[in-house]
Symmetry: C2
Subunit: 241 residues, 2 copies
């Protein structure tokens, strides 16, 4: 039987390969920073199912914008896996409570080199993540706050597996790269129509279809591809652990 709440990606590995990684299990909380901007990290993270990492990048002036999210289907810090060159400014926040497997780059690189099916999965995920960032680049340019808020909420809700998202408007303003009052207005517009419920420190999804209708077109392609990959990983999950 597969151990519960594991990284979907790691769960596709045979027990001996998984053991060879000597993964360290960690618990993180909202707003924990896994890797700081411009910091070289030899750790690769595998969020467990339900955990979520926000990949954000900040500017000299201190603003920050989320460029993508990584959940249980993914791997964080592919950079170190793909290249030896130094990092270039992406930071990563944990969003919401969650468990993670932390693996040393040197160990995962060995598996990556020698295990072709695993490598293919990592590369497929990399392509999906690139696609997500691409979509966000367009979305950031063209779509208004309210639509982006709806999109963001849908994607995060699906990753964490709960309708109740614990976060503040201030946090959201950093994710969306807008000022805080703008978030409050957008949140209230959605709450007005009972699409979401707005509470202190919480946004609760009340009407999934309504939320989809208020989100921009960017939501579907991202979510669909992530979900398809998640399903694929679940099918390939290896028993034991």
């Amino acid at each position: 039987m597969p151990s519960p709440s594991r990284s979907l990606l790691l769960d596709t590995l045979a027990p001996d390969a998984r053991a060879s990684l000597r993964a360290q299990e960690e618990e993180h909380r909202l707003s924990d920073v896994l890797i700081k901007a411009d910091e070289r990290s030899e750790s690769i993270f595998f969020p467990h199912n339900g955990a979520l990492v926000s990949i954000i990048r900040s500017t000299e002036s201190g603003s920050m914008v989320e460029v993508g999210v990584i959940g249980g289907e993914g791997i964080f810090n592919v950079h170190t896996l793909l290249t030896d060159s130094p990092p270039t400014g992406s930071e990563s926040l944990v969003q919401g409570e969650g468990r993670f497997s932390r693996v040393k780059a040197s160990r995962i690189k060995e598996v990556f080199r020698g295990n072709e099916p695993f490598r293919d999965l990592v590369l497929e995920y990399t392509s999906i993540f690139l696609d997500q960032v691409t979509q966000n680049a367009v979305c950031n340019r063209l779509h208004p706050i309210e639509q982006r808020l709806a999109k963001w909420t849908l994607i995060v809700r699906e990753r964490v597996g709960s309708d109740d998202l614990q976060l503040t408007h201030d946090f959201l303003s950093h994710m969306l790269g807008v000022h805080r009052p703008g978030v409050s207005i957008a949140v209230n517009a959605l709450a007005q129509d009972d699409v979401i419920e707005s509470r202190r420190n919480h946004i609760i999804v009340r009407d999934l279809e309504g939320l989809r209708a208020r989100a921009c077109e960017c939501h579907a392609p991202i979510n669909d591809r992530l979900n398809a990959f998640t399903a694929k990983l679940k099918k390939r999950a290896v028993s034991g652990g």
Copy 2:
């Protein structure tokens, strides 16, 4: 002696490996479309040095935004190389005259699988490209037109190896994802101070340092990483061809 004007990436391959790709040489012109949005393509493209591809994504409403550029140091359509899943909406325009090597996915996949040094280079480039798109996602959200125009001009100038860029304001407005008059205003602001010269169908860089000073911070990290990779490829270039 290496053949002139080849893809820097392909030039790192030994002659027999390169021959096995059966690359087709093609010439393309400004605004040619290499791969349409949502179209599955079994072709992988290697721009020759001086050629440039714009990766753009468009929305339902018809707007489009460039999310990154690929020059002689890169490979275009990594998607097909990394995954078998269907594509998701990125289109690609050629920017300026240029030659390309077109390779069938099946052939390049073989080399990708069997040739680890080559695979490492492709993956390193993928990481660089992801980084570029990431930076653009932030830039699109936070930086004003004029700064983004300056950044764009610097990056493209470096890739095509010429101070004279042939393009219209209308084309630029699509790349930057803004309306056309906005481009004209930004162009004139730069031309006012003799940073660039603005002619019909041309933008000519006149003051490189001045242009850098007017560009947003996003320019340097992207350009530096691309240049470093270009230099690395040139060192590894294999003679003959």
